[in-house]
Symmetry: C2
Subunit: 328 residues, 2 copies
């Protein structure tokens, strides 16, 4: 049924049922002027991220379910980047009124899927009509015993990443190529090889993962805008330099194969492609970790070293709103 038929208040009633929680710390969930929560710890983290149609997503190649999953995933990734645990989520949505209420139901199903995975409760939000496409704005609260900022990196620290880089941006590129061919995409029976599907999935449904042990870690950020930009944020905030080795950057077999087929350089995707939502952190080099050490924090200057040992300065290249010409 169209939203214009069921109306705002019936929609909120449905979402309230869908998001109901029996968690004891939730004094009030959806349905009053605000949500109310009993906080067990004294330090809370808050992050807020917006996804706009035409900038962050394209409904011709993402489902509502995937979009719901992603809007919470990107917020969870920010909480993980501080060494925290995600807890309470609020979603503001602006929806064109010709949309079907089933679409919103699917969006919330995606949210609830990842919410349950990480013990997040949806406690509120705002629902309104939009004249300009779909607007999603999520806010996530979390706890942290020890907060890991961008500003603690020290000269001599190693630079580590927790997963492969560049997959998401290659996934996006594949989606865009498919769109120009005017393929109608269906995630269930996809007319592309499984390896490419994996890249696409990393773009549409990122899977944030927390660091199990943050002891000794001096700074951390999630890779959302691209490795070089996000590492630059750490350098800016910590007032240090960095050197990274191309050969050590973890790239997936899928990215290498796909890039080779297209005659493109996979490392370019790994360095500047955004939205991988893995963690980038610094720590003394002797730290015990499964993460890949890709470089070192130095006093000043920012360099990429290639396989022949050639050192090239890098800038904060990647995705920057208002500046980057293409939308994601």
């Amino acid at each position: 049924m169209r939203l214009s038929e069921i109306g705002e208040f019936n929609l909120i009633r449905r979402l309230r049922t869908l998001c109901k929680s029996t968690a004891k710390d939730i004094v009030l969930g959806i349905g009053d002027d605000t949500a109310a929560i009993k906080i067990a710890t004294k330090k809370i983290l808050i992050t807020s991220d917006m996804l706009l149609e035409g900038i962050h997503f394209d409904l011709s190649f993402t489902t509502f379910y995937q979009l719901g999953y992603k809007v919470l995933a990107v917020n969870i990734s920010d909480i993980f980047a501080m060494g925290g645990n995600p807890k309470y989520f609020l979603l503001n949505i602006g929806v064109p009124k010709a949309y079907d209420s089933k679409d919103i139901h699917k969006l919330y199903s995606g949210i609830m899927k990842i919410a349950k995975k990480f013990g997040v409760v949806v406690v509120g939000g705002d629902t309104c009509a939009s004249r300009q496409g779909l607007v999603l704005s999520g806010t996530l609260l979390g706890h942290a015993d020890r907060i890991i900022m961008r500003s603690g990196a020290r000269e001599g620290d190693g630079i580590f990443v927790t997963g492969t880089l560049g997959d998401s941006s290659m996934g996006l590129m594949l989606l865009k190529k498919m769109r120009t061919k005017n393929w109608k995409l269906r995630t269930s029976h996809f007319p592309v090889p499984t390896s490419q599907l994996r890249l696409i999935k990393r773009h549409l449904m990122p899977e944030p993962k927390p660091l199990k042990n943050t002891e000794g870690i001096t700074s951390m950020i999630d890779v959302s805008d691209g490795l070089l930009i996000d590492l630059s944020h750490i350098c800016d905030e910590s007032k240090v330099g960095a050197i990274i080795y191309k050969e050590r950057i973890p790239v997936s077999r899928e990215l290498i194969n796909t890039a080779e087929n297209l005659g493109l350089d996979p490392i370019k995707f790994a360095l500047t492609g955004g939205e991988d939502y893995i963690l980038l952190f610094t720590a003394p080099p002797e730290i015990k970790t499964k993460a890949n050490r890709i470089g070192e924090i130095i006093k000043r200057g920012r360099f990429v070293v290639d396989s022949r040992g050639k050192k090239t300065p890098f800038k904060a290249e990647g995705y920057e709103h208002f500046k980057t010409v293409n939308s994601r």
Copy 2:
């Protein structure tokens, strides 16, 4: 300078300076993956409200300063409606990249104006390009010792409001009339009588006010969608009925005069016009308060009584997203 010239990260740097706070409870403000706050109380309130261009506002008759003021005002109003104190604000903005960075500066000046008035600190948010007009999504956290919900109204309680009703919706109507005449509006030298200017100001820059003493109050909500809708929310949540007396509803001299000049009924604006952002609450009738008692909570049924004692059932009439045809 255009946003496309200064870019996202320079913009964030400026906003960070503008919103800097020395409050001791702010562990981390703007500039990391999340904000971090030390919470003194154990109960927190969270509310999130979105303002979309073409639905909630029209840049042909609001300034960026007023818009910034309003996006925080409407969130503060929600915290007041719970009997709480507003504390920490996050703003997500989606801005077309052709905008000037001065516009965003003005928007934040409006936010900072009302933030300082109520001791609110701007701790974070997300800044991104938008292809579809200006998008504002605010999230506000607050404290409360005692939370006043919509669900506590009891038969026999009086129904109270803390200010005049209908001013904001009449103000909006005046703005729309002016637009059709193609007037270029300037708030400084406005080609309308002062009385009408007051109505317009109540629409563009609502002034939320907290209740000083919430002792004895059984339920509360802020009037954002219109008296009849918001009272219906209290009735729904409290499982009670209500009777209100038209003659007791406080309406401003400005509203009466303007409505008379236009041949319209001021009480219609007071009953169904939204966005007054005053408080509507219920309490035993003997409670000491300066608020206007406009009716009583009854067992069931919802009625409006006119000056001749005629009782008419009312429905939840007012502004409802997806259903209401005209934008605000």
